[in-house]
């Protein structure tokens, strides 16, 4: 579905490799989490694979199409939700979704059906014919998601998708990610939220200082799920025993006097 080999990227006027020889492959039907600190190279990798940034070395293939050699075919298979939720604010939500649907050549029947479904799913029907400039942060995020999904992409790429969303919308997006993957599609997303990644992802990769340090399964692997935080903190160089224990303690029920003793916090609840 997505194959990245030896990806290298240096920004102009910088001698530092923002992405240094990253390689991994995503399979159909999986949710893949991409973790790393701020500035680790997550967004740069995503921007390279979506075609936003040119890269200096390596190859990126989306559904067998090389993004550098056959960008139109590669982009046709992909839906992208950016981290800053930037959209054409002068357009209405419906105009924006129709604009994107036109670009991906979605038939009128399909777009009618899908838009109706997503408007109900994300409870955005009341605002769809208003200009996007009137939307809240979360509403902009939702219209970005709808526009990214209107052509049913095989690869759905999201850059920190849950930022600024209310819990209900977050739950709906999670449910929809799973639904999207059940159809044989792939979801690739970056996040800072380790609990979300633990709950949602089949596999995860951790990137640090532009290099891919670790990649492992989470699906059906309770050990990996249990020590995700530890591995993340170690890799990103922020590991200190005390820090890690504090983190775990915060998530632990007996250290949270505000929670009933018999209730486990959601963060440590295993699926």
């Amino acid at each position: 579905m997505l194959k990245i080999e030896h990806l290298k990227k240096t920004y102009p006027k910088s001698d530092r490799l923002a992405v240094n020889d990253i390689s991994f492959e995503l399979n159909p039907g999986e949710i893949f989490g991409f973790l790393g600190q701020n500035g680790a190279g997550k967004s740069t990798t995503i921007k390279c694979l979506t075609g936003i940034l040119p890269f200096d070395g390596g190859t990126i293939e989306i559904c067998g199409h090389d993004i550098a050699k056959d960008p139109i075919a590669a982009k046709m298979e992909m839906g992208y939700v950016p981290d800053n939720h930037s959209v054409y604010e002068k357009l209405t939500g419906r105009e924006y979704v129709n604009y994107v649907a036109d670009l991906y050549k979605v038939s009128l029947e399909d777009r009618n059906a899908r838009l109706e479904h997503y408007l109900d799913l994300f409870r955005l029907r009341f605002a769809v014919d208003r200009q996007i400039k009137a939307y809240s942060h979360g509403m902009k995020q939702k219209i970005c998601i709808i526009a990214a999904l209107i052509h049913e992409p095989k690869l759905w790429v999201l850059d920190e998708p849950m930022m600024g969303l209310d819990p209900q919308s977050t739950a709906e997006i999670i449910a929809h990610m799973r639904e999207h993957c059940r159809k044989g599609n792939t979801v690739f997303f970056s996040s800072h939220n380790l609990d979300l990644v633990k709950k949602l992802c089949d596999r995860v990769a951790i990137i640090n200082d532009g290099q891919l340090i670790d990649m492992f399964d989470l699906k059906n692997n309770e050990a990996n799920k249990a020590n995700l935080e530890e591995r993340f903190f170690k890799i990103t160089g922020t590991y200190e025993k005390r820090l890690f224990e504090d983190y775990v303690a915060q998530e632990s029920a007996d250290m949270r006097p505000d929670l009933p003793v018999d209730e486990e916090p959601a963060a440590v609840t295993e699926e």
Binding site: S86, E89, N98, D129
Partner: protein, 569 residues
């Protein structure tokens, strides 16, 4: 509990306001400083030209027509009128529409303190604008009439006195203006129509005044008010033009209009009462409604257009890109003004400019100059319109990433933009040519232009439009400036606009001068004299324009995909 006003808070807010407007010198690069100096020099030149214009206008009224009080009355009306319009804009912008209201209300200050702090700035701004407008009229009048020192002292007092009225009126009018702006802000077509009417109205007024001055300069024997009926109307108007004539009486009524001290005292009393009444009214209205209005403004800031009964619609890729590009311009006040309104108003502006230039040129060198002048004028206005294309990539702003993500080649995306700018430019050129053809190519217009002239001017301008559009978009791809704010609109025009304007005006001057020179005796270089028939002149210019179009198209298309891919937002 009613809180008293803290003057310390007012002072702090006022200082904060001043600091937020001030450029931090340390952050300015040498280039920015240079630009700032250039802006100041440009401003001084424009102001000097204004003063020169006022001087000649004053001479017409005062020396030739002996209408001194009338001149002072009309000058006061004009300056106070402009000051009032500027003050309304300033008060609306600073008191009600400034985005800092929400921020300031979070501080432990009340609405009245914010109002007073901002009003101090508005009053100072109004004072400076009024003085800059009024001073040249009063000083020039004094110089021309050889007035004594007493006149200049009086003029300073009257000038200070006259700055109050526009400010009070602006405060009274600002709230209704705000309400109207809120009502029409999403009526894009209405806003565009109003902008076009305003541009055309101001331009016609300006060109008519300029034409009168130039006519006077060209023929010093011409008396502006030769017709006694017109003269009587002007005198009657000035004498009934309350309260502006009272300012004129206070300034020079005793000497020029034979008024007694009692008349002047009454004029001062009336003015004082009007100012006091308006001032008190403005104070009570503003303090009563200010807080509520800014709260309402914060609440409704994000109110937007709602499309009723909208349905999904399928378009071609080209159609949807074109549709998006057009609506992003049409639904923006700034872009509508810069582009669509200018394109629509261009025929009117070209007509007035051409009429004036042709009249002056015909008088001085003959009617053969008209086709060349027309070409010059049309290319200049077309350049102004086409320069908008030089922000076509920059205007994508924060959404630039989207152009990289969508499955449409960069070439096709940019060609759509090129198509829109080309079509708008072509329509504007066609309308300009039809207008000048109808105005100057007929019997009534003096047959100054032949159908050949109009047709050839259209072809040359059209080729120039396309070449300039290619160059403008090329320049923006080369170095876009994604400096956006608010709804994603460009904060300021970037350097590409200046480049596009420079190239366009340079081309216009070269084309115009070439056509004008060869319309007479040809060009003599030493013993070599080059003569050309009009068709040959046009042939050369069409050849040059076509060559420029080919060159700019090559520059535009070569490596377009690679160059676009390199742009990093």
């Amino acid at each position: 509990m009613k809180r008293t006003i803290s003057w310390q808070s007012v002072l702090t807010l006022f200082r904060l306001d001043l600091r937020s407007r001030k450029d931090v010198a340390g952050e300015l690069s040498k280039k920015d400083k240079g630009m700032k100096v250039m802006n100041v020099v440009f401003g001084v030149i424009v102001y000097a030209l204004l003063v020169v214009g006022i001087y000649f206008l004053s001479r017409m009224f005062v020396v030739r027509d002996q209408m001194r009080i009338e001149f002072l009355t009309i000058a006061t009306l004009l300056t106070m009128g402009i000051s009032t319009v500027v003050a309304i804009g300033n008060v609306v912008k600073n008191l009600y529409m400034n985005g800092d209201n929400e921020l300031l209300l979070r501080f432990p200050v009340n609405g009245t303190e914010i109002l007073i702090a901002k009003s101090i700035y508005c009053a100072l701004h109004n004072f400076v604008v009024s003085c800059l407008l009024t001073l040249p009229f009063y000083v020039v009048f004094g110089v021309i009439t050889k007035a004594g020192v007493g006149y200049y002292f009086a003029s300073i007092l009257i000038m200070l006195f006259s700055t109050m009225l526009p400010f009070f009126v602006a405060n009274l009018v600002a709230i209704p203006v705000m309400r109207i702006v809120n009502v029409i802000k999403n009526q894009f077509l209405l806003v565009l129509a109003l902008i076009i009417v305003a541009i055309c109205g101001c331009f016609i007024f300006y060109m008519t005044a300029l034409s009168s001055i130039l006519e006077y300069l060209a023929d010093n024997n011409v008396n502006l008010f030769d017709d006694p009926v017109i003269r009587e109307r002007v005198v009657n108007f000035a004498h009934n033009c309350y309260p502006f004539n009272w300012y004129a009486y206070l300034l020079n009524g005793k000497a020029q209009a034979g008024l007694t001290s009692k008349d002047l005292g009454l004029a001062f009393l009336y003015l004082f009462l009007i100012n006091a009444g308006l001032g008190v009214g403005a104070f009570f209205v503003t303090t009563k409604f200010y807080y509520g209005t800014i709260l309402k403004g914060i609440e409704t800031e994000k109110e937007s257009m709602i499309k009723r009964n909208a349905k999904n619609r399928k378009r071609s890729v080209f159609g949807t890109l074109l549709n998006r590009e057009f609506f992003l311009i049409f639904r923006s006040f700034n872009y509508s003004f810069q582009y669509l309104a200018m394109a629509c108003a261009a025929p009117v502006m070209v007509y007035y400019c051409n009429a004036l230039a042709s009249a002056m040129g015909t008088k001085s060198v003959g009617s053969s100059i008209v086709p060349g002048l027309t070409l010059l004028v049309v290319v200049i206005f077309v350049t102004i319109i086409v320069s908008f294309a030089s922000t076509s990539i920059s205007r994508e702003g924060m959404v630039f990433y989207h152009t990289k993500v969508i499955p449409v080649s960069y070439t096709n995306q940019i060609l759509t933009k090129l198509f829109l700018y080309g079509i708008v430019g072509t329509i504007s050129v066609a309308l300009c040519c039809i207008t000048v053809g109808a105005a100057f190519g007929t019997e009534a217009g003096g047959n100054l232009l032949t159908p050949l002239d109009v047709g050839m001017i259209f072809i040359i301008c059209e080729l120039t439009v396309l070449a300039q559009t290619c160059l403008s978009v090329w320049a923006d791809i080369k170095s876009p400036t994604f400096n956006v704010a608010g709804d994603g609109e460009l904060v300021a025009a970037n350097k590409n606009v200046a480049l596009a304007l420079f190239i366009g005006i340079f081309t216009a001057v070269i084309y115009g001068v070439f056509a004008m020179v060869f319309s007479f005796n040809g060009l003599a270089i030493g013993k070599l004299v080059i003569n050309m028939q009009p068709a040959e002149v046009y042939g050369v210019l069409i050849g040059v324009s076509a060559a420029l179009l080919i060159a700019s198209a090559c520059l535009f298309f070569i490596n377009l995909e690679k160059r676009y891919q390199k742009i990093v937002p």
